[in-house]
């Protein structure tokens, strides 16, 4: 069954470019130029994944409104923001109202498609029983690379795809410093240094929601970040 992807984007050229590349990947793509047409279509039937732009025609926050409406309809529908707005505030707002990922338009198409397929894979994997093959454990951290979910002290940490890839890249080699460029390529994004910094900060916050004492991601000033296995932190605490 082909997956249906809806693109809501007011810029026709980009919309069609994305649609083309996704169609070529075998997806069924519906494109909408504004919020009203998209809302009408979504009322009839929800797609399997939605790519949203934030500014839609005259509506400055049209994408956010649409995202909220979609999230109200379905809690599991994957939503990706793909926008020219690269500021921290919009990123935080977009993720907070339920988007699964927040991407800027400078992302390359292969990265985009990789992300989309990752999202579908995760959806698929969630339906299947947990397969221990894909699970790696490191202290309190459990990484399920198939379902792309992470648990900390047996509590699930709700991470976006980008964040998952970041944690995954760090936790794969505990104690090794990963610089920002490496992290960017691992998480299939290209952003500037401060965006990485804010991503790391967000990740730390998400972990700290479960465990206030979480301090496994260490900043190595001037180089990057590294994952401290919690055994060593425990040792430190003792």
């Amino acid at each position: 069954m082909t997956k249906r992807i809806a693109i809501v984007e007011d810029e026709a050229a980009i919309r069609e470019n994305y649609a083309d590349v996704l169609r070529s990947q075998g997806y069924q793509v519906q494109t909408y130029a504004n919020r009203s047409t998209a809302t009408q279509a979504f009322n009839l039937r929800l797609p399997n994944l939605v790519i949203l732009d934030i500014g839609l025609d005259e509506e400055y926050d049209g994408g956010f409104v649409l995202c909220q409406q979609l999230r109200a309809k379905s809690a599991t529908l994957p939503i990706i923001f793909l926008t020219a707005r690269d500021n921290d505030f919009d990123t935080v707002s977009g993720l907070r109202i339920g988007a699964d990922d927040y991407l800027t338009k400078d992302i390359s198409l292969p990265h985009l498609t990789a992300r989309i397929s990752a999202l579908f894979r995760r959806q698929e994997a969630l339906k299947q029983p947990i397969n221990d093959e894909h699970i790696t454990r490191s202290g309190a951290l459990t990484v399920d690379s198939q379902r792309m979910c992470i648990t900390w002290q047996n509590k699930s940490v709700d991470l976006t795809i980008t964040e998952f890839w970041l944690v995954h890249a760090l936790a794969k080699h505990p104690g090794h410093v990963k610089n920002r460029t490496q992290l960017m390529s691992d998480s299939k994004i290209y952003v500037d240094d401060s965006t990485i910094t804010s991503h790391i900060k967000r990740i730390r916050k998400k972990f700290m929601q479960n465990d206030a004492n979480f301090d496994c991601i260490e900043t190595v000033y001037g180089m990057g970040y590294r994952w401290l296995s919690d055994n060593s932190t425990r040792d430190d605490e003792d």
Partner: protein, 736 residues
């Protein structure tokens, strides 16, 4: 140029207003002029009054021949020494041969010497001074005789002329000549004898002529008096000198020949009749004189010292409670001494020696005696007082026979003027001090408002020309308020414009991102299709690749452009934490050593305090790292000898970081705004980094400054020499 400007005098608003207010000084000047003008009119009035008084008196004396009859006023001329004038004595004199009770004796004497000699058989050894005065009903005569040999009359000598003697003759009221000889046997009371032309007659003693004969070292003095009731108009006296006892007189000096009735001189004494008339006028506060045509005073009344004119009003004595009032004391002790530095108090003890009573001088008298009424102003001889004299002729039978002279000082007017000026000065002083105070307050208020405005304007814009604060518009409804409002508007607009400029790069990048995304996605689609077709003809693919490289670079530029804005937004939400700067710097430097393997980093930790291993800061370590990244990468690019020196120090709760590289110097004019947005020096880089891997927009150091500001720190760059290069100085407050 700079020196010239500093020497230029600053002429502030307050000084200008003060200068303008100095025009207030015209008011007292006008007041002063007005009072002077008033005085002029008063003087004119006084002059008229005086002339009127003189005319009134003259009118009383016109055509009253008999008043002038016996006053020898009809003589065509008078001869000094021969025609005598009896000065009016104000006090009784004692007949003691001493002249100390004669007022102004020396001025009122006439010196008789060889010109007045009657005969001389031997060389003249005699001269004398004579003075004539009138008191009550007597004519007083005083002689001061210089004689080498004084020969008294012998004890039993019958002759009264064979010794030094005085011959005195005068006509009586019936024009009959009376002759007397004063011939003493010794000093003391005089012996007067009545003699006749007939020498055989025995001289009769004349007891009504009384006097005193006093010996002096030079000769002798004779002081005598003659009752006025039998005294006519003519008089003569002569001293006869005898040098040998018992011999005849060898020489004689006198006013006239006493034995010859024809040759007698005249005597004028102040006329009691005229004086009676004049006395009636003495209540006019004037000094009045009546003179005959020979300028001799016939009568006088009043004294110049009390003649201060009709304007003279007695000063009101202040009441007791008035004296005790503070204002009166202030006026008396502070204001008046001040005023009288400018004003002069009319003096009452002036001395006027112009008038010898025997002979009044002055052009006004001369004019009056030619029949013309005149008045004149003159100063007293000691120049202390101004005297106004008016002279009016007295006509008898169409002939000028005398004149009335009325004199007054201007003291009355001057006192009046002074009092007016005192009041004027007080009022002016009050007005001026109030006015000056008001002006000063007003000027201070205005200048302080303007200074406040200028300070506000200066504070609103920093050295780099950025708007750092808002101006509060004034509510006041005047020009300065308008200025303030327009300033505030201007600053607001400027700040909006600045904000627009500052956010320009991010807006630009945002706007460009969509079309770039279009190109990029299109290119990627194209390349994907190419791959799918897998055609043998690969000629297109290098172009696609190049286009993709270009678009990626463009994308990178856009990302960098919006970095500063993103950072600013991020900083507003960044939470500050405590962290150790030492650890951060240490970590960074070891990191940079890996990133830039060709550069040699040396880190000098100058914090001597070994106990304090930590340098705690309150802020965001990630951003400090970002700051260091920017500064170090900047330093690396400009380094010519591949050495970067980082120095860490503390100074008064400030962590001081110095990052130095050796290379080209900063241009002077750019050092101020080096840390501004979109300022880059890289075009001038002599090494020719024209093809750089990473494009530079001059945002790196701007980001550094933003981070420094976030930490309340400062960043500056300066050139260092030997070797030449640039040091970036970062100062961050440590956690206290």
């Amino acid at each position: 140029m700079v020196i010239g400007r500093s020497l230029k005098l600053r002429f502030g608003l307050r000084a200008k207003l003060l200068l303008l207010s100095s025009f207030l000084f015209i008011i007292p000047w006008f007041g002063y002029q007005y009072v002077w003008e008033m005085e002029k009119y008063l003087r004119f009035g006084q002059e008229q009054t005086l002339v009127g008084t003189a005319r009134a008196l003259a009118t009383a004396l016109h055509e009253r021949e008999n008043l002038f009859n016996n006053q020898a006023s009809f003589l065509p001329n008078v001869e000094q020494g021969k025609d005598l004038y009896g000065y009016k004595l104000t006090q009784a004199v004692q007949l003691d041969g001493l002249h100390n009770d004669w007022p102004e004796f020396n001025q009122r004497t006439h010196f008789y010497h060889h010109q007045q000699q009657l005969f001389a058989k031997e060389p003249l050894s005699l001269n004398f001074k004579a003075s004539v005065g009138k008191y009550d009903n007597y004519l007083y005569l005083f002689f001061q005789v210089v004689d080498n040999h004084l020969i008294f009359r012998g004890k039993n000598t019958r002759s009264i002329t064979n010794n030094d003697h005085l011959a005195l003759s005068f006509s009586d009221n019936n024009n009959k000549l009376n002759r007397f000889i004063i011939s003493n046997k010794k000093t003391g009371w005089i012996s007067a004898f009545n003699v006749t032309d007939d020498d055989t007659n025995i001289p009769e003693p004349a007891p009504h002529i009384q006097g005193h004969w006093l010996l002096t070292p030079q000769g002798y003095n004779v002081e005598l008096r003659v009752p006025l009731d039998n005294l006519g108009d003519n008089i003569a006296f002569a001293f006869f000198d005898v040098d040998k006892k018992g011999s005849e007189a060898v020489s004689a000096i006198g006013s006239a020949d006493p034995s010859n009735a024809e040759s007698l001189g005249t005597i004028v004494v102040p006329s009691p009749e005229i004086e009676r008339i004049v006395k009636g006028m003495r209540y006019t506060n004037s000094s009045i004189w009546v003179v005959d045509q020979h300028h001799r005073v016939l009568a006088s009344a009043g004294s110049l010292k009390s003649a201060s004119g009709v304007w003279h009003a007695k000063e009101k004595q202040p009441k007791e409670n008035e004296i005790r009032s503070l204002w009166y004391q202030f006026k008396q002790h502070i204001l008046f001494p001040l005023y009288y530095k400018i004003l002069t108090k009319p003096s009452t003890d002036f001395i006027d020696q112009l008038y010898d009573e025997q002979h009044l001088r002055g052009s006004h008298i001369v004019n009056a005696l030619t029949g013309e009424a005149t008045s004149q102003w003159r100063l007293t001889t000691d120049k202390k007082a101004l005297v106004l004299s008016a002279a009016y002729p007295i006509f008898i039978n169409n002939q000028v026979q005398g004149a009335v002279i009325v004199e007054e000082t201007t003291n009355g007017i001057r006192t009046l003027r002074n009092r007016a000026l005192e009041k004027l000065f007080t009022v002016i002083l009050a007005i001026m001090s109030l006015g000056a105070l008001a002006f000063l307050l007003f000027a201070s208020r205005i200048s302080s408002r303007i200074r406040h405005l200028s300070n506000q304007a200066e504070l609103a814009i920093d050295k780099q020309g950025r708007i750092i604060g808002q101006m509060r518009a004034s509510n006041s409804n005047d020009e300065i308020g308008d200025l303030s409002r327009s300033f505030a508007t201007a600053v607001n607009r400027l700040s909006e414009y600045n904000h627009y400029l500052e956010s320009m790069s991010s807006r630009l990048s945002h706007e460009l991102r969509t079309p770039i995304a279009v190109v990029k996605t299109s290119l990627e689609n194209l390349s994907l299709q190419e791959e799918q077709r897998a055609q043998v003809d690969k000629s297109n693919s290098p172009y696609i690749e190049r286009a993709q490289t270009g678009i990626n670079t463009l994308n990178l530029i856009l990302t960098n452009m919006s970095e500063a804005t993103r950072l600013e937004q991020m900083l507003t939400t960044t939470e500050k934490i405590d962290f150790d700067l030492l650890q951060v710097v240490n970590g960074c430097i070891s990191g940079y050593q890996q990133v830039y393997p060709s550069i040699k980093f040396s880190f000098n930790n100058r914090i001597c305090d070994s106990k304090r291993k930590k340098l705690l800061l309150y802020g965001s370590p990630e951003h400090i790292v970002q700051l260091l990244d920017k500064v170090i990468s900047n330093g690396v690019e400009f380094s010519q000898d591949n050495k970067i020196t980082v120095e860490l120090n503390t100074n008064n709760n400030n962590a001081e970081l110095f990052i130095s590289n050796n290379g080209i110097l900063l241009p002077e004019q750019l050092s101020e705004n080096l840390f501004d947005s979109m300022v880059s020096l890289r075009d001038k880089n002599p090494k020719g980094y024209s093809k750089q891997a990473v494009p530079h927009l001059g945002l790196g150091l701007y980001i550094s400054r933003l981070i420094c500001q976030f930490h309340h720190g400062k960043i500056s760059a300066y050139n260092h020499h030997d070797p030449e290069g640039v040091t970036v100085h970062i100062s961050l407050p440590t956690k206290v």
